[in-house]
Symmetry: D2
Subunit: 299 residues, 4 copies
């Protein structure tokens, strides 16, 4: 049993909308928790980009799970792992799902594209996997999971590639029947029209997940009333960190001084607090060679 | 031969002050390069913190070198690796130095503390290694390096632990004689008085490196005129990213909307540009199954 | 709860002697299980040697745990991880113990030497940690463990360094009181006299573990009657594999033919059987694009 | 420049037949070197099997390169990396080739199958990549390589899948024109007839590599006279180690004694010799706190 998976399962089952925020590192995961979110989205795009890699299946799955493991360690929130198209076929996906479950991730989200996949918003080839192949992946992962509570989210890119609403619904229903615990319906429209239409037709067959990157201006309240279970802000922590690093770095390079940027930096002490250096100092006293621990020292 | 090491060696040999900025990820390294710095400081504090770990030798040396390898790949600047106290004794340091050289780091900076070490600004035990031990480490690393140009910087914490200027100078001279290519003189004073006094006494025996974290208000021009070779801003990229992620994450959590933060985010397209997705798209055309590549296809 | 830890705990609690065999890879772990042993000893010496490294704390703790994770996956036996002196102080050991517990290791064995440590049978400095320091390590690891069943074995090198029986007993008792679940009493005598004497004096205060490398000629039955809980053959799989590889490799190099060695090789089919390629083939049929999985394909 | 690549390039250019032996670990690589081989074959099958994984693209490419890095470190022989079908498309292969070059591998061998691939001797689907796709991969890898000497071997599975000699030749020629430095012609016949026929038709257009696993009984002298450049014994070290571990482990389990197996084990001292513990002991003296290294100690 994995308590993180149980929690994520509850979150998507509850009638009210849950909120997840992207993280790409343990410190980002900790900040997501401190800010009051329900869950963490371990974004493939953000983690790859932090590694200087394209969001095109360039990162290895062990590089990905190693980073996710640090997030699980750093936060008590459930972590939903973005595993792209599963790093191969049914066999690769199920091995990956087992590994994620073992390291304490709450669930995984896999998309119906062939490997290697390309970011949904990047220019280039975007294709869908055959439905039967993707259903085989879902079934294999569910069958393999040691932890029955591990949440498998199936993401369809049908609307992204322009295959239409009917295809999106057909795929989502196939994935649900193959064992998916939730459906992520992705759209790159500038409004929420597509996901809202999908949600109406879907009619609550299983939990729905959305990622409002391009339709971020839609008021969240609209989603709360239409049966969406989980809303993921899928890349904003990374985009905020890059924005800040660019500004600070350029200013320091230009002015050869921190004067202009000091208000844009947390202090060292704030970081020490976030990472609880105080308990480290007290543990040092408790555990470092305290002679009381060696009752027979003078024996 | 490692061209990054040659470049770093030039930078510290030149009479003018060179500037390095901290990075803790490949994307941060890329931003440091884009901003016009001379070199990258792969900070142990920042990388550990990004992993959710204390800057107390909690990260493994392979976790550290794996991240540094992504930085070397992502940028053409020389990367100076902060290796804390060397992850053990002379033997651990020399193995680490060889690994760093192999993956293309330009140099390493090792400090004269026992393993595990604690961040210089954190509360807790701060102790110095015996001089002879630390000289043994330096000599072993220099003897082991496959790449003669690899730069070994010896950092003394003598002023940090309150051992005094005389001890700092004595140690620096011992380290220089043991083979160190440069000396990092660390201070946690709020002014630059200590490092300037050290620099005067040192009188250019070998290049000096400084880290103005606590004495950041000192005008950089002061260092330019006093024989300092390299100034490292050792944690500002990380502190900027945490500051921004905290602000954005809290705002989105509170308002359940991106409205208040959208000006604090780079766009997806900016990230695609930074990571040159355009060349990826053109490579896709060039290399993906172009029948012209298969001259005998119809054979 | 970790079922492997529960099993290991049972094994050392039972009155009869349990047997563990070394493994240094997943395939070796699988062979240990196939052969009928009770547990697997993930040997630091063997894993380091397989990496071409000295058994002197040269391997990083994440390299070690990555290999151990493959062993846990490959076998259903409990894996007892040899963690040398704990890769640092109390804080390093507790982080490592938590990581091992998370990846499913049943327990860890830590020895009372400073870091870096040297193999007990190699020439060179052999020293003991102060008792109070080592007790602090044990207490910190026990306090930190998420999984209460995880087995912490404290190994004393008192007899190895020549500190005498009285010191060995004093240390073992301190470690037991600090929280160790079992004591490994190590000896490099050519007979079992030392460990038998220790066992008599110990009188069952907590389970005892032995490693008959140098006193391998002692009949096992002798240990069965003297209150030893677990006997570890700590390096024989590795030594057998090196012996065989040397013989085969030299023969093939000399004769430029496999003729002389073919009887010393398992067949490819035997390896396919050990790793159950048959189920892979049937899974391929079950999960690869079976249209039946896509009930709505024609929708 | 990578001296290992230069050496491998020489080996395949020379008129006489060169010999490579498989290794799946650093210690195996060291044994291959000690035995007098020309090169090391870092086998995907063996490394995967040692990890308990199927030879079906289950291992991540970073797990593979991490192990290969230990082999490069442990031996002075050139290491030819078996990279299966390249872990994806042209982009994945070129990233992998760059990584291999950076860590000092001499070359890589990539086969013309889709990802994930299945071992050539295992039951199940065996398919070929389209020629144009595979030529794109070769071209991309060659274009990306930082190290011009890195050797790219293209392996065709045309004979394995039963596509015939004509197809094998057509593919080999396409791969050569796309930039491959050598061709590996694979066969699973019990005699060498296919590879000899191929070699005659090929007529030395570029170096040929063979892997006599199923046709191991063919006298090596036959290959020496027919223009083969490199013969790889691709899995025998692993198969020898498994054979020995099975025998020893079962004997010890049955007899609860090492008596029956002690002649099948190398001694601890032999391993210490192989890994040069003697130099470690002398380095310890040279570098550990020798006061002479601290000329100013009494300053």
């Amino acid at each position: 049993m994995n308590s993180h998976s149980v929690r994520l399962r509850e979150l998507i089952a509850e009638p009210k909308l849950a909120f997840a925020m992207e993280a790409h590192s343990a410190i980002a995961a900790k900040i997501v928790e401190m800010s009051g979110f329900d869950a963490i989205w371990a974004s493939g795009f953000s983690i790859s980009s932090a590694f200087g890699l394209h969001d095109r299946s360039e990162i290895s799955f062990t590089q990905l799970t190693d980073i996710i493991e640090t997030m699980v360690e750093a936060s008590s929130l459930p972590v939903l792992a973005d595993v792209d198209s599963g790093f191969g076929d049914f066999n690769n996906l199920r091995l990956l799902a087992k590994r994620l479950s073992r390291i304490g991730a709450a669930g995984a989200c896999v998309e119906d594209k062939p490997f290697p996949k390309l970011n949904s918003f990047a220019d280039g080839r975007q294709a869908l996997s055959p439905v039967a192949d993707f259903c085989g992946k879902i079934a294999a992962a569910k069958d393999a999971l040691l932890n029955d509570d591990f949440v498998l989210v199936a993401r369809t890119e049908a609307l992204i590639v322009g295959a239409g609403m009917r295809e999106a619904l057909r795929r989502a229903e196939s994935y649900r029947l193959a064992g998916a615990d939730a459906i992520l319906i992705h759209s790159k429209r500038s409004t929420a029209s597509e996901v809202l239409a999908f949600s109406r037709e879907w009619a609550g067959r299983c939990p729905l997940v959305i990622v409002p990157t391009t339709y971020a201006k839609t008021p969240t309240s609209l989603f709360e009333s239409t049966g969406i279970s989980l809303l993921i802000w899928a890349n904003q922590m990374f985009r905020a960190s890059v924005h800040a690093m660019l500004a600070v770095c350029r200013d320091v390079a230009r002015n050869r001084s921190l004067k202009g940027v000091s208000h844009q930096l947390v202090s060292m002490d704030e970081i020490f607090d976030m990472l609880d250096y105080a308990s480290l100092a007290s543990d040092e006293k408790a555990y470092s060679g305290d002679p009381a621990l060696s009752v027979l020292e003078s024996g």
